[in-house]
């Protein structure tokens, strides 16, 4: 295990911006006094004139980005998910979403893997908040390769995009030579017949590992990476659920409003099937090392394996 390369997707965000900046002169990165943590500092080093620190004022940053985009710029605003999606929610909704402006929101430090900072900084509601906004694309990449591809796809997409990144280093799983990223297209990582696991973000690699354990017990799990929460790959979700007839969703987010809810919304209309939603139950997080928290909340491979075993009886 120790040989697997791990990178936090916040690093991917900073690196992808710096790479994009070389060929995209209209790209402007805004931050709110977190350039070191969000990794936009990497972009700042390469393009200081296009990195604008707004200070600790996320609402204003969202508005500035809205104005910039009306003048032909492609702004990426950066902060922790708590402040990008939470603090500035109404600015994102009314100043960016309602006029459908070409603003990208790079939200790092999502979920409980923020770790020691605890509940005030562990955003477990951002997917729910962002996917409710009409026209907003919501992407939660699973590793470094996917995160970098997502940043580029977000730049190319015309309209608002919410990108969710993490603080914890996670294994690289999308290193197959034929890997390609397309907004709104889920990826079948492992085929199976007994149960479908729809996972997103850092839970994709944990779910793959859980599926390998299930295999040893004779349970054939299909694992599908849903990197785009919105627009959801409804066809793929319905088709796999119709095949396996049993569905599990896994996300580092509240079980209310995120991937689990999105999958249920599709299935109840298109392919009714029982769904086990694995995520953070209706509660706040807490302080602790990220890996320990994932274990405590049953969101590591072991916890996912146990929950699915119990669910399948």
């Amino acid at each position: 295990m120790s040989e697997i390369k791990k990178i936090a997707t916040r690093d991917s965000y900073g690196n992808a911006l710096a790479e994009l900046g070389q060929t995209k002169p209209d790209l402007i990165v805004l931050d709110a006094d977190l350039a070191g943590a969000t990794k936009t500092g990497i972009f700042k080093k390469a393009f200081p004139e296009r990195h604008w620190d707004c200070g600790i004022a996320e609402a204003n940053m969202a508005g500035i980005a809205a104005g910039l985009s009306t003048c032909g710029k492609v702004p990426f605003i950066s902060s922790f998910a708590m402040f990008a999606a939470g603090r500035a929610y109404e600015q994102v909704r009314n100043s960016i979403g309602y006029p459908h402006l070409n603003v990208k929101i790079g939200a790092t430090h999502a979920g409980i893997t923020v770790g020691e900072d605890g509940a005030t900084h562990q955003c477990l509601e951002d997917l729910a908040l962002m996917r409710e906004i009409p026209g907003m694309v919501v992407i939660n990449p699973s590793d470094d390769i996917e995160a970098k591809a997502a940043v580029k796809a977000a730049y190319e997409h015309v309209g608002p995009v919410y990108l969710r990144f993490g603080r914890l280093a996670v294994p690289i799983i999308n290193d197959a030579p034929d890997y390609c990223f397309e907004i709104g297209k889920g990826r079948v990582l492992k085929e199976g017949t007994d149960v479908t696991i729809f996972a997103t973000g850092l839970e994709v690699s944990e779910s793959l590992e859980a599926a390998r354990e299930l295999e040893k017990d004779g349970i054939s799990a299909e694992v599908i990476n849903i990197h785009t929460i919105k627009p959801l790959d409804e066809e793929l979700v319905a088709a796999s659920a119709a095949k396996t007839k049993k569905v599990v969703t896994v996300e580092e987010h509240s079980v209310l409003g995120g991937l689990g809810s999105a999958v249920c919304e599709v299935l109840c209309e298109k392919a009714p099937a029982p769904v086990l939603r694995i995520g953070v139950e209706d509660r706040f997080g807490e302080s602790g090392p990220a890996v320990e928290l994932l274990h405590k909340y049953g969101l590591d491979a072991e916890g996912i394996y146990k929950k699915i075993k119990a669910y399948l009886g």
Partner: protein, 278 residues
């Protein structure tokens, strides 16, 4: 335009405001009327714009942060030729492009969607920063209410605009002294407004915002001000031009009934005729 022509235009805009709000049976006449001279001066004298090409990239921009006075903005845009004046009577009607608050996606000449108070100044700051970055000459104007500046985001925007020395930005505060719940002093006093903006490194000018001589002088002074943004504190009268609406907080957000509409239009008609006699 000379002052007389500007006054005639402002009077026409007032008629349009009253007609649109009456047709909508809802809306915000008080703050629209208080800012009629400001809208008139911006769209007929100050801004470098082309109604035939509303998205012209070198145009001056205007963001109505106090988006609820959309009737005032729409009346000015229609008067300037961005869309037909008769469309104003569809304000707030189902299916009309003239939404209750400014909608940049569907209304020619609207540079930013707005209406949720406190947000428009930030967008204007972004436009001004883009202009500086691109070394363009366009200027950016935004109007807030004196109640609206109770929103904290206004001061986040002011801090950054002053810090970045955005001298292509003018923030106009429509200081009509009234908000929904009463006078701004009674609700949560924003005074002294000028000193607050000065603390954020703005040049400030306080004027009578219903007087074209003072408006003209203020915008000229703003243009000459280098190295800092300008805030124009425009002291105005809410409901100005319609006797029974003047200085009454209750006319912040309600429409005149048919009899009140008749009276208002008669008053504005007389005011227009008086201007023609001059």
């Amino acid at each position: 335009m000379n002052n007389l022509e500007l006054e005639k235009t402002a009077n026409e805009i007032r008629k349009s405001i009253v007609s649109a709000v009456h047709s909508a049976k809802s809306g915000h006449p008080g703050g629209s009327l208080s800012a009629a001279e400001l809208f008139t001066y911006l769209y007929f004298e100050e801004m470098n714009i082309d109604p035939k090409n509303p998205k012209w990239e070198d145009r001056d921009r205007f963001v109505l942060s106090k988006g609820h006075v959309a009737p005032g903005l729409y009346a000015a845009l229609a008067e300037r030729g961005y869309f037909p004046k008769e469309d104003l009577l569809t304000l707030r009607h189902t299916g009309s492009y003239l939404q209750g608050h400014p909608d940049m996606k569907h209304i020619p000449g609207v540079d930013m969607s707005s209406g949720s108070l406190g947000q428009g100044v930030s967008a204007a700051v972004g436009m001004a920063a883009a202009g500086k970055f691109d070394k363009k000459d366009y200027r950016v104007y935004t109007m807030t209410g004196d109640g609206e500046i109770q929103e904290g985001q206004i001061w986040e925007a002011a801090m950054w605009a002053g810090f970045r020395k955005l001298d292509n930005l003018v923030v106009i505060v429509d200081n009509n002294n009234l908000q929904i719940d009463g006078t701004v002093e009674e609700v949560c006093s924003p005074y002294p407004i000028d000193q607050k903006f000065e603390a954020f490194h703005f040049h400030t000018i306080t004027i009578n915002g219903n007087d074209f001589d003072e408006i003209r002088a203020a915008f000229q002074e703003a243009r000459k001000t280098k190295g800092k943004p300008t805030a124009i504190i425009a002291r105005t009268m809410k409901g100005k031009g319609v006797s029974f609406m003047e200085n009454i907080a209750d006319w912040h957000g309600k429409a005149p009934d048919d009899a009140q509409y008749q009276q208002a239009m008669e008053e504005l008609q007389k005011a227009g005729e008086a201007l023609c006699q001059r």
